[in-house]
Amino acid sequence: MLRTEALFADIAASFLMVLAGFIAAAVVGIPVGLAMGTFYSMDGLLGGFFRTVRYAPINAFVPLIIIWAGLGESPKIIIIFLGIVFYNATMISDAVKFIPDETLNVAYTLGATRRDLLFRVILPATLPNIIDALKLNVAGAWNFLIISELIAAQKGLGFKIIYSQRFLQTDKVLFCILVILAIGLATDLFFKLIFRLCLPWAESKTS
C-alpha cells in the first residue's frame, strides 16, 4: 500500500502539518508557560484562561475554524496549535512552580538579578520538564491533525483513512493507523535521544 497508493505523499503532508502546529505551539507555549510560572501577574492574567480553555472541545471548533480560516493548510495548523498550546503552557508553568524556593533563594544570595534568575536558573531547571511536556503533547498534535483531516482535506493520512472508509477498505484504515503509531514511536525515541544528549544531568520523569 505504501507504494501503490502513493502513501508517502500523504505521510509527508500530515507530518509537515504536525510539525508546523507543534513548533507554533512550542514557540508560544514555552515562553508563556515560563512567564506564568515565574510572575504572579502573568499567572493572574493568563493562568485561569489557559487552564480553563484546556477543557474546550477543540473538535467542536473544527468546522468554525474551517469557516474562518478557509480550506487550505492554515486551519489544520491552527487546530493543532490550539489543541496543544494550552497544555504546553500549563505544564511548563507548573514545572516552574515546582522549583524549590531554596534553589531560587541561593541564586539571589549569589548576586543574581531577577533576569539572571529567569535565564540562568528557571529556564535550565525546567528544561527537562519542557522537553517532557513537548514529548507528551506531540501525541495530541497527531490526534488533532487527523480530526481536522477527517473533516476537510484533499491529502494526508486522515484524509486517506476517511477515503478508505468510504469504500469499506478496513485494511487500509488499519494500515494508516499503524503508520501513525510507527511515526509516534519514532518521535518518542527522538525525544529520548535529545533528552539524553542535551540533559546528561537529569532524569526524565516520563517514559
Binding site: T103, N105, R120, A125, L127
Partner: protein, 264 residues
C-alpha cells in the same frame, strides 16, 4: 546576658565595628485576622571574623531571622546592616548555605562554584583559578567535572560551601547546613568547617537546633525561645583550636547543660 566568661573582652574585638548588625528585627505573619509573631525585636551584632550561632526549638523563628538577614524575607520592622550600611534586599555580600542541597543540578561542580563569579562577569581564567582554589580547600578537586547527582550528601554540602566562599561574601549565613547529614558526616564537616573558619577571615552567622554543634563552632551562642525573642547570649570561651574530643570535656558539657536549660 550570663555570667559566663567572655572571649569578646579581647580589645580588637570590642573596637572593631559590627560586620553584620541585625537591629530590632520584628516579623509578624498575618493570616486572616490572626497575627503570629515569628521574630520579636531581635538585635544581634557580629564583629569581623566572628562565628555566632542561634539555637532554638523548631518553629521559633530562627530561620525567618536568617532569611531576613539574607534579604530574602522582608522584616515587619527593623533593619539589617552590613559594615554599617543598611541592606534593602538580597545580595552577594551575604552568601548563604542552606540545609538542603541547593546545588544547581544542571551545572557541573566547577560551574556551580563559578556561578556567582560568572554573574559578576569575572574573566574565565580568573574564574578557573578561583574555582580550583576553593575546590581544593573543600577537598573536591577531583570532582570538578561531576554533576551534583553523582555526589554524596556531605560532598554536595562542601561544594555549596565552596560556592558561597568563592563569591567573597562579607558574611556567610548558614541555615542548618549540616542538618540533613548523617551524624558521622555531620561531625566530620563540623571539624572541617571549624578549621576552615579559623584559617580564613570569614564572619559566620549560623542557625541550628543542634546545641553541641553550636557550642563546638561558635564564639557566641544566642538562644531564641518559642515566642521569637532572644532569651540569652552565651559567650563560648573554649580554646580557639577545637577538635571533636572537646565535645566530651567538662567545660563543653557545662555549656551544653546551660544552653539546654535555657532552651526549656
Amino acid at each position: 546576658m550570663t555570667t559566663f566568661p567572655t572571649t569578646l573582652g579581647q580589645p580588637n574585638r570590642v573596637t572593631s565595628a559590627a560586620k553584620l548588625e541585625i537591629r530590632h528585627i520584628t516579623k509578624i505573619f498575618r493570616k486572616g485576622k490572626q497575627a503570629n509573631v515569628a521574630v520579636d525585636d531581635v538585635s544581634v551584632q557580629l564583629v569581623s571574623n566572628e562565628f555566632s550561632c542561634i539555637v532554638g526549638p523548631s518553629g521559633c523563628g530562627k530561620s525567618t531571622l536568617l532569611n531576613i538577614a539574607a534579604g530574602l524575607v522582608k522584616a515587619t520592622s527593623g533593619e539589617v546592616l552590613v559594615d554599617g550600611e543598611v541592606v534593602p534586599g538580597p545580595g552577594a555580600d551575604r552568601g548563604m548555605v542552606f540545609q538542603n542541597y541547593t546545588l544547581f543540578p544542571w551545572l557541573s561542580v566547577a560551574k556551580n562554584v563559578a556561578f556567582g563569579l560568572d554573574l559578576k562577569g569575572m574573566p574565565q581564567s580568573e574564574q578557573r583559578s578561583k574555582v580550583e582554589y576553593y575546590l581544593n580547600i573543600v577537598g573536591l578537586s577531583d570532582c570538578a567535572k561531576a554533576y551534583p547527582k553523582e555526589l554524596s550528601g556531605g560532598m554536595k554540602q562542601r561544594v555549596a560551601i565552596a560556592r558561597a566562599l568563592a563569591n567573597d561574601p562579607e558574611v556567610l549565613l548558614m541555615d542548618e547546613p549540616f542538618g540533613a547529614l548523617d551524624s558521622q558526616t555531620k561531625e566530620q564537616l563540623q571539624e572541617f568547617f571549624h578549621e576552615l573558619w579559623r584559617k580564613s577571615q570569614i564572619t559566620v552567622f549560623m542557625i541550628t537546633h543542634d546545641v553541641e554543634e553550636a557550642i563546638f563552632l561558635s564564639q557566641r551562642v544566642h538562644v531564641m525561645d518559642k515566642s521569637g525573642k532572644l532569651r540569652e547570649t552565651v559567650e563560648i570561651s573554649l580554646p580557639a583550636h577545637r577538635d571533636l574530643e572537646m565535645k566530651l570535656t567538662p567545660e563543653f558539657l557545662d555549656y551544653k547543660r546551660h544552653i539546654i536549660h535555657a532552651l526549656r
